[in-house]
Structures are given as C-alpha cells and as structure tokens.
C-alpha cells in the first residue's frame, strides 16, 4: 500500500510538472500570437474571446505571472482549456471531447485485441518451440517492421475504392448524424475495419515475438524443470508456471501502450482521415491552433501518466516481489 501511495505521489508531481510546463510554453513564444490571430480572424473574435486569448497566452499584462498561473489552474479545474481557433467558437474541451471517443474505441479495442491474440500466440510459439507456429515468426517480424501508416496506404490502395465495401476515409458515412442507433454504429464499424486491421497486423507481431522469447527464457528456468518433475499436467506447467511468469514484461508493455493509445496512432488516423485525436492534432498543428494543441498535449500527457500508474498497480498484483512490506 505504501508503495502505491508513493507511486501516486510521484505521478501527481509529474502531472503538476507537465501542466506547469504546459502553462509556460505559450508564454515563451516570441511576439504576440494573439494579435496575429486576431488579424487572421478579421474581427470575428469577440472582446471576451480576445481577452481569454490574452489570459491563455500569458499576455494579460495587468496580472503578475503568479496570478496568471493561479488563473490557469482555476480554468483547468473547471475543465476550461480555452477556445479553439479552428473550430471557433467551440471550446477546446468540447472539440477534444468529440474526437476522443473515436480514438479510444478504435485504438483501445485494437490494442487490447492485438495484445490478447499476440500474447496467446506467443505462449504457443514459445512452449511448442520448433513446431509450425515458429514458421509464423519471420512473417510477423516482417510485419512488425512495416510502419502502420504505410500498411494503411497499401490497404487503401488495394482494398478501398469506388464500389468497395471498405470506405477509404472518415469515421462514418457523411450525412449521418452521430447517434447510438444501428445505422450509425454499423457505418462506424464499417469505417473502422481497415484502420483497425492495419493497427492490429502491425502491432500484434511485436507481442508474439516478445512473449515467445520470454517463454523460451522462462522455460529454461529451474522451477519449470521442477514443475515437470512434480508430474504436473502439461497444461498447468505451461500456463501456471511458464506463461504466468513470462507474462510480466508483456503486461508492463501493454500498460505503457495503453498510454500511447491517445496520441500514438496519429499517422493511421491521418491516412484514413479518421475523426480521432491524432487527426485532430494534425489539423491543429497545420492551422497553428495553439489552444487546441495545448489541450491535446495535456490529454496525452495525462493518459500516459494514468497508464503508467495502471502498469504499477497491475504489476503489484502479478509480481509478489514488487510488494514490499513495511
């Protein structure tokens, strides 16, 4: 328990540091970004919006830096990340809120599926070393070295096109209104098939490879020989002794990859013009939408931290050696 509290304190500190850096970065941008933005929007910004931009960029010259900092935290506490320029006048939190579920569901589900499938195949390949499963390894190694986005481009070129079942871009049929009905969900699933397959194919092989190698390493441990000598059923030796121990590094890797879900598949989303967070970040960067970029970075940072915390907790459960008493 103490261990967990210590970790929690560490992550809180890291989160504070990340948010503080997030506060300072725009204030270090040379020049007056607000003025250039105001001129770009040619008077479409209300005085309120201009003021909030000044606060956001730290150009609110009436206030001291400390007051600005306090103000920044107050805004954050209310979930107020400022207004987006590109989607003006929507607040950043709303823009991110619209994009986040797309990424979470698409990449979240594929990451989980690829982890489960890859680890399962890895256990099989490691335990039955020299069987047909080993024949998969060169193929998976090749696939894991292919970048996501390139695989996506190939998938679009080969599978998508006029009249094809697979749409080449977007998250749902244009013209549909997002709602939880069967037509919309069906369309969303149809649109997610190609990107999901792309991510699955190129990320699964990594899990297979690492799990197989850990299995081979663990299978040489003394306690595996002991388990055999004890006359335990083969299944129990493979699962409860070998796979259970070999799983540890993979689980840590999985928790970390959860943190990368939010921002990690930017290129896939760009290739498929998928309405997720990665595509949003891409658009924010090309439109110099600073508040939006700031907000997305914030979300990515926090999700990485949460995933790390999750990894610690899971590890605590799986490996008794990390549980220190006292």
């Amino acid at each position: 328990m103490t261990f967990l509290l210590r970790r929690l304190a560490f992550y809180l500190f890291t989160a504070w540091a990340a948010l503080t850096i997030n506060f300072f970065i725009p204030r270090m941008i040379p020049g007056d970004p607000v003025k250039s933005l105001v001129s770009r929007f040619q008077g479409q910004l209300s005085t309120d919006a201009i003021h909030s931009l000044y606060v956001l960029f730290g150009l609110d010259s009436d206030d001291s830096l400390w007051d600005q900092y306090v103000d920044y935290w107050r805004q954050l506490a209310h979930g107020d990340l400022g207004l987006s320029f590109t989607a003006f006048p929507s607040p950043v939190s709303e823009v991110i809120g619209d994009a986040l579920p797309w990424t979470l569901i698409l990449v979240g589900v594929t990451t989980a599926v690829s982890f489960v499938l890859g680890t399962g195949l890895g256990v099989l390949a490691g335990w039955r070393r020299g069987s047909w499963v080993d024949g998969l390894l060169p193929v998976t190694t090749f696939l894991s070295s292919v970048p996501y986005f390139w695989l996506g481009l190939v998938a679009i070129a080969v599978l998508a096109g006029p009249g094809s079942f697979f749409p080449s871009s977007g998250g749902y049929e244009p013209g549909l209104v997002p709602a939880l009905d069967s037509i919309f969900l069906g369309s969303a699933v149809q649109h997610s098939l190609l990107p999901a397959a792309t991510i699955l194919i190129s990320s699964m092989s990594g899990w297979i490879l690492s799990m197989r190698n850990m299995m081979v390493t663990v299978a040489a441990e003394d306690y595996i020989t002991v388990a055999h000598a004890k006359g335990l059923p083969e299944r129990r030796v493979a699962m409860s002794y070998a796979a259970r121990n070999a799983l540890l590094p993979n689980v840590a890797g999985f928790a970390l990859s959860l943190g990368l879900i939010v921002g990690g598949t930017l290129l896939v989303e760009i290739v498929f013009s998928y309405p997720g967070l990665g595509f949003l970040l891409f658009r924010a960067v090309s439109a110099k939408d600073y508040p939006l970029m700031q907000g997305i970075f914030l979300v990515i940072t926090l999700s990485v931290l949460v995933a790390n915390l999750l990894a610690d907790v899971v590890y605590l459960f799986l490996d008794p050696r990390t549980r220190k008493e006292g």
């Binding site: 003394d222 002991v226 055999h228 000598a229 006359g231 335990l232 490996d319």
Partner: protein
C-alpha cells in the same frame, strides 16, 4: 543388503544426435537399494547430473537417452521400466515414486506463487480425491517436517532465506512419500553451517520415513559421512563402487584416491593434500582404453588401449572397481 528399488542398467545418455553427439553417460550400471543412501561423486562434467536427469526423463534437449533400462520396483507389483512409460504413466510416476531436489536451491521455486500453492499443486495433481483443507493440512505437515513454521505457507519464495527454500524443496520432495529421492547437489549453494543442518535433518527424515536417496555431489567428504555406499563417476562411467567406510579407508581406483586426497579429512590423522593433475577428459574426444589413464600416476601397459570393466576385485566381492590394477575376476555387471 535389502532388495533393490531402482536399477539402472547400461544407461547411456547423449547430447545431440548422429556423429556429433557427445556421450555424457556411458553404459552405467547402478543399483539403489530400499532405504539406503547411495552417494554419486565425481568432477564437474563427469555425468552425475545427466545421469539423474536421464533416469527421470527430464533431460532438456538436445539430451537423449540412447540406450539402457531404468527399472523401478514398486512396493507391491512387478518392476517397471521408467524409460518406456507413456506420458500419462510417467506423470503419475514422477514425484509419487521418485522425487528430486535440484541443484539450484534458489531457483527451484516459482517466484510468483506462494509456497502453499506450490506444495498443494503437486498433491492435487497426484491425489485429486483429497479435499482442499486436507491438502493444506498436508502442506502444513510437510513444512513442520522440515522445521519451518506452518505460517510460512503464505510466504512467497523471495521472503525465505536460501536454506529455508531448500528445506521447502525437501519437504515438497517428501509430499507424496516417494520410495526414492534424488538429490542433485542439494546443499551446494548453501553455507557450510546450513549444509550440516539440512543434511542431519535429511538423515533423520530418512530414518523415520525410510526412503532411499541418490545423493549427487562433487563433495566426497560430505558423502563419506552421510551415505551408505558411494559410487565414483569419471568420464560418464562408474569407476568405483563401495561401502562408504571401505572406499574412504582403502580406495582402489587411482581416481578415487586422488579425489580423497583433494580435501582435508574432517577427523583422523592429517594427510597430505595432493589433488589430481590434469583436467577432466573432453567428452568429444575420449582417450582410448581407461578414460583416466592420461592423468593416472599408476598407469600400466593395457590402460591406454583396453577399457577395464567394472567388477569386484579378487579379494572383495562387496565392492566393484574398473581398473587394470585390480582386474575383475569375472565380468559381473552391477
């Protein structure tokens, strides 16, 4: 002498296949009698551990048994050849009839499972009828048997000292009251005080439960005190076999003699330590004749061309030696 419980007949073990195979154990004959402690000693690489792994069919690849028989005599019923058991029969045989305490005291327990899990799962695998409370009670008994308090059942291996872990392993080895316990350097990783404690405990347990022990070590001084009979291995073969006191008092094979003069005696008059010159033979290119002759201070004419057979020397039928200095009367195996 009592009846045999485990008979190893002309057992050979190779590493690898075909011409490049290394023959680590060569036609070994060895008999373990009910309730005795048989010590097996030799240098590193002499094939001691390979023999133990071979007779329990636990050889990791590329190890293969290339010939021989391992006859196990159950308490009731006809003897069975361990090497021809089906996988299911083998699983049932393991641990219930022959358990093993391994070399790596530190790594024999799975670090992610509690002691109780690891004690209980072997009982459950072999006695599925036993209820969970009964299994746990048995596990507690086993810990008490080896002098560990029963509340350690909920500990993880890393919370125990090396000596305690090895005791847990010994307790685990006795879980199903096997007839034979093979101990492969069980105390090598421990300090001498702990070695002594564990060995005396083991002697006491054997007295009480009556299992036979095949005790493998490179430490001949341990064996002299602890075992009834001692077999000496060199280059994959048994070169001498005798009751412990006789072997210590008057070794026949020059290699045994060399081993005995490689460590100080614990009791009795002081002796000069000489050691054995040279190094162990290369198993890929064994010398012709007796494997020991290049290092032997007393090599004779036939030593480098003809292989001496293991048999009783002329004056003493109770022991066996494979040496041209003491040619066997007749070729009697075992």
């Amino acid at each position: 002498m009592s009846e045999p419980v485990l008979e190893i007949r002309r057992l050979s073990v190779d590493y690898g296949l075909g011409d490049s195979a290394v023959r680590a154990v060569r036609e070994v004959d060895l008999t373990l009698h009910r309730g005795e402690v048989l010590g097996l000693a030799g240098e590193s690489g002499s094939g001691k551990s390979t023999l133990a792994y071979g007779l329990t069919r636990l050889l990791p690849p590329p190890g293969v048994i290339s010939g021989g028989q391992v006859l196990y005599h159950p308490v009731d019923g006809p003897p069975v050849d361990v090497l021809t058991l089906s996988p299911a029969q083998l699983r049932a045989f393991r641990w219930a009839e022959t358990s093993i305490v391994f070399q790596g005291a530190m790594n024999s327990l799975n670090p992610v499972h509690k002691i109780s899990t690891q004690l209980v799962d072997v009982i459950r695998a072999h006695q599925p009828g036993l209820s969970r409370p009964a299994r746990l009670a048995r596990a507690r008994d086993l810990l008490r048997l080896v002098g560990i308090s029963a509340d350690r059942l909920d500990s993880y291996p890393h919370q125990l000292s090396g000596g305690m872990r090895q005791r847990v392993m010994i307790g685990m080895a006795l879980a199903l009251e096997p007839q034979v316990v093979i101990m492969d350097e069980p105390t090598t990783a421990l300090d001498v005080v702990m070695q002594r404690q564990i060995l005396s405990q083991l002697a006491e347990l054997r007295e009480r439960l009556g299992f036979a022990v095949l005790f493998i070590t490179h430490d001949l001084s341990l064996l002299v005190e602890f075992s009834d009979r001692i077999a000496i291995m060199y280059g994959g073969r048994i070169v001498e076999q005798a009751p412990a006191a006789q072997l210590y008092g008057a070794a026949l094979h020059p290699y045994t003699d060399g081993l005995l003069h490689s460590f100080p005696a614990l009791r009795g008059p002081r002796r000069e330590l000489t050691g054995i010159p040279g190094s162990p033979p290369d198993l890929r290119a064994m010398p012709d004749g007796c494997a020991f002759h290049p290092r032997c201070p007393r090599a004779l004419a036939p030593c480098d061309s003809r292989l001496p057979t293991l048999g009783p020397p002329a004056d003493d039928p109770g022991r066996a030696v494979a040496c041209w200095l003491h040619p066997a009367d007749e070729v009697v195996a075992r």
